[in-house]
């Protein structure tokens, strides 16, 4: 078993997004609305696996406000701030490159800032947490 800890930040604007967490083997956390603020989820998982996070609850036509220059003024979003494997955080700089969102309209976005409904996948297809850490850090190499 590998201890996985996710720290998420949910930003409330016209309400919050929801998320559910699962792997191919098991449901880890049923759909939950993430209220404004930080949330920590601790799971025991079996490697190798892919962790999926189904995110929902955003209407992009009204839950994001931008100015004339395209700067975001208000937004409903979830941000993955920290992922720990066996109590060690993944490298901060690797984190944005590690989170892949496939939106409901099939666009792929690689970022830890989740601003669309869709499926976030975290590829943990490694034999153990040590190999996972080293492999994920290689994203920076």
């Amino acid at each position: 078993m590998t201890a996985l800890s996710l720290t998420l930040y949910s930003n409330n604007f016209n309400g919050s997004m929801s998320a559910s967490f699962f792997t191919a083997q098991k449901m880890l956390q049923k759909t939950t609305v993430l209220k404004h603020g930080d949330h920590i989820f601790d799971f025991d998982i079996d490697l190798p696996c892919t962790l999926n996070v189904l995110v929902n609850g955003k209407d992009n036509s009204k839950d994001t406000v931008v100015d004339d220059k395209g700067n975001i003024l208000e937004d409903k979003f979830i941000r993955i701030d920290k992922i720990c494997l066996d109590n060690k955080p993944l490298n901060d700089n690797a984190l944005p490159k590690f989170c892949k969102l496939v939106t409901n309209d099939s666009k792929t976005i690689v970022s830890n800032y989740i601003g669309f409904n869709g499926m976030v996948s975290l590829d943990l297809n490694y034999s153990d947490s040590l190999v996972a850490h080293i492999s994920i850090q290689k994203l920076l190499g």
Binding site: D86, K88, P89, S127, L130, H133, I134, K138, L140, G141
Partner: protein, 471 residues
């Protein structure tokens, strides 16, 4: 309680690393059951045996995060290290990082060890913990915050390590904080204990020895005196006793001083030279020899007879000459002239003492004129090529470190810095001394040196060649 101390790879050497043995001596004297091993050398052999055709590639992967590295291979090295440590059922492990190049593998060893042996306390220390230049401690703080280690030690761990192991929750200068205190004395300390090192692994069984801490000079570009506020030295008799002890116990006859300079205290140094000279004359089949960093002094301070005595045991002197122009060297506060340099080199030549000459290209008072003067020096002094000057090491051009006089006086000296940690890209306000200019000077000086018959080598290359000579 059981403490296991080890070096952490990668230090490219065929010699035993000093720190684990030194710390073991201290801890055993305090009654702590201690084992000291040199995993640096064991890992080097593990890699040679298991990845022989890809040695350089694996070495690189052990030193740093690498896009092309194979995580399973790194894992096999970490497993090997963890298995070796766990053989002794330790309650504490102390990991010695000699250079920055040990940080990457150390981080993953700590992770693996904490995962599998969560009750074992992990202590890290050594210059490699505190980045290349000894200022920042972000690496140690991060591992501490992540609970991957229990303690980090700054400065001399000699006394602190035994206190960490024998007490819980200690609050001492140098333990989990950057401020630290120098020990009161270096004399009469327990000797390093190498008894559990795997001696069959060493191609060059020469031993490290500590004769002093700090430096007697306060060179404008150097931060040694920031870390060791006081220059401390061991007496000639104390050093000689350790050399003889190690020679009797290990059979080793070659020693490498780990000091900033061996001859900071000229009286004690010459005492040691006399003792070694006597020993070597009486024991021609078991002579003791040494290599070290060394300072050239004004010729009135080093007489012909001194050089003769030095030659009876010295193999290799690494000398920070730093500039070949008098006024530049004086600004650096090196305190010897070109006349003194000529005298020292001629004496080394006369008595067959090998020298590596270190130079700094593009000091803050260097100019196109001093650059020309430097190139002329090589031609005018080519009689010293190969004897005594084995190599010239040009370094990477002047870098400006925090804690140095140059850093403190940057405004007055007209220096513009771009990086607060270590600035290799500083420039003069008039734009005449820039990184680009320094690189050109270096290229031209190297070419001039080689044209005059000198060998040019990096400091690491010089070190490896010195090791070959020490065999």
């Amino acid at each position: 309680m059981k403490l296991v101390i080890t070096s952490i790879p990668w230090t490219d050497t065929e010699s035993p690393l000093l720190a684990p043995a030194l710390l073991k001596g201290q801890c055993v004297a305090k009654g702590i059951d201690t084992t000291a091993i040199d995993l640096n050398q064991e890992v080097i052999h593990f890699v040679k045996n298991n990845f022989s055709t890809r040695y350089n590639e694996i070495q690189s992967a052990v030193i740093q995060n690498h896009r092309d590295s194979n995580p399973n291979e790194i894992r096999s090295i970490i497993e090997f290290m963890a298995k070796r440590l766990s053989e002794y059922n330790p309650t504490h492990i102390a990991l010695s990082l000699l250079t920055y190049g040990s940080q990457y593998i150390c981080e993953w060893l700590c992770f693996y060890y904490k995962l599998h042996y969560p009750n074992v306390k992990i202590i890290i220390g050594g210059p490699g913990v505190f980045n290349t230049f000894g200022i920042e401690h972000g690496y140690a703080d991060r591992l501490l915050e992540q609970k991957q280690i229990d303690y980090f030690v700054k400065g001399d761990g000699d006394e602190l390590l035994s206190q960490i192991v024998s007490q819980e929750n200690i609050d001492l200068p140098g333990v989990n904080r950057i401020d630290w205190q120098q020990p009161k004395t270096l004399n009469d300390q327990p000797y390093p204990m190498y008894d559990e090192y795997k001696w069959e692994l060493y191609g060059n069984p020469s031993l490290g020895i500590v004769g002093s801490r700090g430096c007697v000079r306060k060179c404008s570009f150097c931060d040694v005196h920031e870390h060791w506020k006081k220059f401390q030295w061991r007496t000639g008799e104390d050093l000689f006793a350790e050399l003889i002890y190690q020679n009797k116990n290990t059979g080793v006859r070659r020693f490498k001083f780990q000091d900033s300079l061996i001859n900071g205290n000229q009286n004690e140094f010459m005492k040691l030279m006399r003792l070694l000279s006597d020993h070597n004359l009486k024991n021609p089949d078991n002579t003791i020899q040494w290599s070290s960093f060394f300072i050239f002094r004004p010729k009135k301070q080093m007489h012909d007879d001194d050089w003769r005595l030095i030659s009876h045991s010295a193999v290799w002197l690494t000398v920070g000459v730093e500039s070949l122009v008098d006024h530049v060297r004086m600004h650096m506060r090196k305190k010897f002239t070109n006349d003194d340099l000529d005298y020292c080199l001629s004496k080394c030549q006369q008595y067959g003492i090998s020298v590596v000459m270190m130079l700094i290209v593009g000091y803050v008072t260097d100019s196109e004129d001093t650059h020309q003067e430097t190139m002329q020096w090589f031609e005018k002094n080519k009689q010293y090529a190969n004897n005594p000057i084995q190599h010239i090491s040009f370094g990477g051009g002047l870098g400006i470190l925090p804690g140095t006089e140059l850093y403190r006086r940057q405004e007055e000296l007209g220096i513009i810095l771009n990086d607060v940690n270590f600035d290799n890209h500083w420039q003069s306000k008039d734009g005449k001394n820039t990184h680009k200019v320094r690189m050109r000077w270096m290229k031209e000086q190297r070419e001039a040196a080689v044209k005059a018959g000198f060998n040019e080598q990096s400091l690491i290359g010089s070190h490896l060649l010195m090791e070959m000579k020490m065999k």
